[in-house]
Symmetry: C2
Subunit: 258 residues, 2 copies
Amino acid sequence: MSKRPLILVTNDDGITAPGIRTLISVMKEIGDVVVVAPDSPQSAMGHAITINSTLHVEKVVIDNGSQIEYSCSGTPADCVKLAVREVLDRKPDLCVSGINHGSNSSINVIYSGTMSAALEAGIESIPAIGFSLLDYNWGANFEHCKSFVKTITSNVLEHGLPDGVVLNVNLPNVEKKDIKGIKVCRQARANWEEEFDKRTNPMGREYYWLTGKFVNMDNGEDTDEWALEHNYVSIVPVQFDLTAHHAIQQLNSWDFGA
Amino acid sequence: MSKRPLILVTNDDGITAPGIRTLISVMKEIGDVVVVAPDSPQSAMGHAITINSTLHVEKVVIDNGSQIEYSCSGTPADCVKLAVREVLDRKPDLCVSGINHGSNSSINVIYSGTMSAALEAGIESIPAIGFSLLDYNWGANFEHCKSFVKTITSNVLEHGLPDGVVLNVNLPNVEKKDIKGIKVCRQARANWEEEFDKRTNPMGREYYWLTGKFVNMDNGEDTDEWALEHNYVSIVPVQFDLTAHHAIQQLNSWDFGA
C-alpha cells in the first residue's frame, strides 16, 4: 500500500499487558497505530457492552513511540465502538485485538473478549483479527509471535476479508523454530467440563469458584485444536451471522398450529 | 411424553422480572421447573462468565407454585453452568431463557445475555430456546406470548433440535389477534449506529453514555426483522460453531510464506 494504513489496536487483558505491547510494536512497522484498550483486565467478558453505566476514555502514554493511546473503562466491544465513533477521525483500515494471554481456540471464541473486539470491528465492516498465545501467564514470551502476526496482518491488508468474516488466530506456545507453519482451520467441537470449587466464607456462607477441564471431542485434522497440538499457528475465519442455515428446512417441517 | 420433562429456566433481566415470571408459568404447564437466574439485571452481558470473582447461589421463593428457584450472583452463562453442575440432580431435558424485555433479533443475538444462556445450554447438549418480546419496558404485557411460547417449546420437546443448534425466538409487541403466525427465519444483517452522549461530571471530567440507532441493511423477506415487522413470531436457529466455512478456501489461497 502506498499510504500507511490506520490500525486500531485493542485487547481484553488491559492496555498495559505484555501481549498488547507486543502487538503495538509489530503494528507500528506496518501502519499508523491508535490504541483504545481497557484500563483493566476484561477476560471472559464475551460480547458484553456497557449500557447501564458510564464510560471514561483517557489519553495515556504507556511506552515510547509514535502510537497514540487511550485507556477506556469499558469492555473490549465498548473500546471498538468508542474508537470508531469518538476517538478516530476516520474509519480504520484494520482492527487487531490481542495478543491475548491464553487460548481463544475452538469454543473459547464465544467467551473471548479479544474476539468480541474483533467481531465488533467486523460488524462495523472493518477488517479485523484477534490474536492469542497459548500461554496464560502475564510474563509469557511473545517474541516468536511477531513474524506470524506480521505475515497474517499483511495478508489481510493486501487481500481484505470476505464480508462478515473476521479472523481468530491462535499461536502455539513453543519456540519459533518448532512452529511448522500457518494453517486455516475450522473451530473444533469442544467444551469445558466445569467444576465448581465450593467453599465457605468466614461468615459461614457458601460460595463457588468456577474451574474446569477443557474437553476436545473433535479429532478432525482440519480443526484449530489439531493444528495447535501439532505446532501450527491456527487461523479460523469467524462469522457473526449465527444462523444455522442448514437447520431452517427441518424447522419448517414442524407443526406450529394456528 | 409420558414422563414430565425437567426444565431449567433462566434469563438476563433478573429472577424477579415479569418476563421470567411469565415463562415460568408457561413451563409449569409442561414440566417440572427449576429456576436458576441472576439476582440482578445482566442485560448486554454477551457471553460473559465469571472467572475472577466468586459466585453465590441462594434458594429463594419469589411467588407461589411448584417451581424450585435459585438466585445467582453471576451472569446468565454462569447460571446455566452452575445449574447443570451443582444445582440439578440430572441433566435437564430443556433450557429456556427469557422472556427478555426487549428484542434479541438480528445482530442483537451476539450482545444478548438471554441468548448466551441458551447457547451455554446448547454447548452442554441441552435443547435450548431464548425468548424475547419487542418491548423494553419492565411493565411490558407478556400475556399474548404465552400460547406461542408453549407451542414452540412443545415442538422442541417433541422433535429435539439438531446438534449444535439453539433457537432464538422473538415476539412482536402487538395484540394476540394481530399476530399472523410463526416464521422460521435467518438473522438479518443489521447493526447499531452508536452515538455516544458526551457529558461532563461535577468534577469536570468527561464521560460517555452509549446510545444508538438500530439500522437494518437487509430487506430479505426470509429475515427475522422482516417477520417481526410483519407481525410474525420469528424463530432463528442459532449455532455456536462460528466458523465461516465458506471463507476457508479463499484464505487457503493466501501466501503465508515460510
